[in-house]
Point group: C2
């Protein structure tokens, strides 16, 4: 097996995917090489392409291939409202409710001191800068209703209120302990309507 450097390297690299252990990494490597070399090439190119092209939107912080993302450039959005979410998926969930026409800020995570995830890791300064652009009149906190999401919302809320910004939080239509990604759009829609000032 010693001379198979590129096979071992592939298994090692697959192990760095979240949720993939040594056994499944090896199985993936064998499967790709034996049954789906086209998929292996496609994934290889897709990874290098994405790393090369995907950056953070200078305005909302989501993943984008352009300096400013499409949503932020959309003139029909209400620039007076800024909804703060943890992930691009959460943003998509809110978009699907059709109840919100403002703009977004994507934290790309949530505060989690135990995991060493602090304000810098959720782009806190960028958010503060964004919220202070003179147009934003309300920041809607739509972080998850988990302990970490609530703590993140609390932290952001306190800082923004100290700076005189109006802050609201999605109403508790979202089940306590729940993650937006797994909640039906109807519930999220109600929570958006019932959002309360914090």
């Amino acid at each position: 097996m010693k001379k198979n450097g590129s096979l071992e390297a592939l298994s090692e690299a697959l192990r760095r995917l979240p949720g993939v252990g040594p056994k499944s990494a090896q199985r993936m490597a064998y499967h790709l090489l034996q049954h789906d070399r086209a998929a292996a090439s496609e994934l290889g190119h897709a990874l290098l392409n994405a790393v090369d092209r995907i950056q953070h939107c200078a305005s909302c912080n989501t993943f984008t291939e352009t300096e400013i993302c499409e949503t932020c450039l959309d003139p029909s959005r209400d620039a007076s409202q800024l909804c703060v979410v943890e992930t691009p998926t959460d943003q998509m969930m809110i978009e699907q409710t059709l109840m919100y026409k403002g703009l977004y800020f994507v934290l790309m995570g949530r505060l989690s001191p135990l995991d060493g995830i602090g304000p810098k890791d959720i782009y806190f300064d960028k958010l503060m800068h964004r919220a202070a652009n003179g147009l934003v009149q309300e920041v809607v906190l739509a972080t998850n209703f988990t302990n970490e999401g609530e703590a993140t919302a609390h932290y952001i809320s306190e800082t923004l209120k100290a700076r005189g910004v109006k802050v609201s939080r999605l109403a508790r239509g979202v089940p306590v302990g729940g993650e937006l990604e797994y909640v039906d759009p109807g519930t999220i829609a109600r929570a958006m309507l019932d959002r309360r000032t914090t």
Copy 2:
């Protein structure tokens, strides 16, 4: 999201990995781009490298970067014995028992008519050719003791015996329904010693 072609392409490509659904593909993509771009690049290069370099050993059919693999080139191996296994992992399991000093043939699968996997997919002709090289005196069938592995062993055994080749099968020390990959080396060692002519 429309302009993020390379992000969508990455999610799509990750979905082609065995056992990865749309949700985990998206999570993997976000994780790599947000937290581990180095891993993404490494995996990208590893995939393209492996596709480019890994081929099948001309003799034993396992994955290798050279025309003939290291094991096949090892002059200390007993060329009169040929052990037939389903996968490179199974070969490795047998190597770990230190009970076998012959050569191997790796089928890269097993017969499975219901899945449309026939003799051609397990390199049957290549195996027949290999077994008829004039040096092989015994073929040891070490396919799994699952229904499909047994059927594969039976199919190979019948054809080889019709051609006058001595064929043996690992003894039933391996639990019925078991897969070599999950059996302890001691059991495999006993099964190797107790192998019987079929």
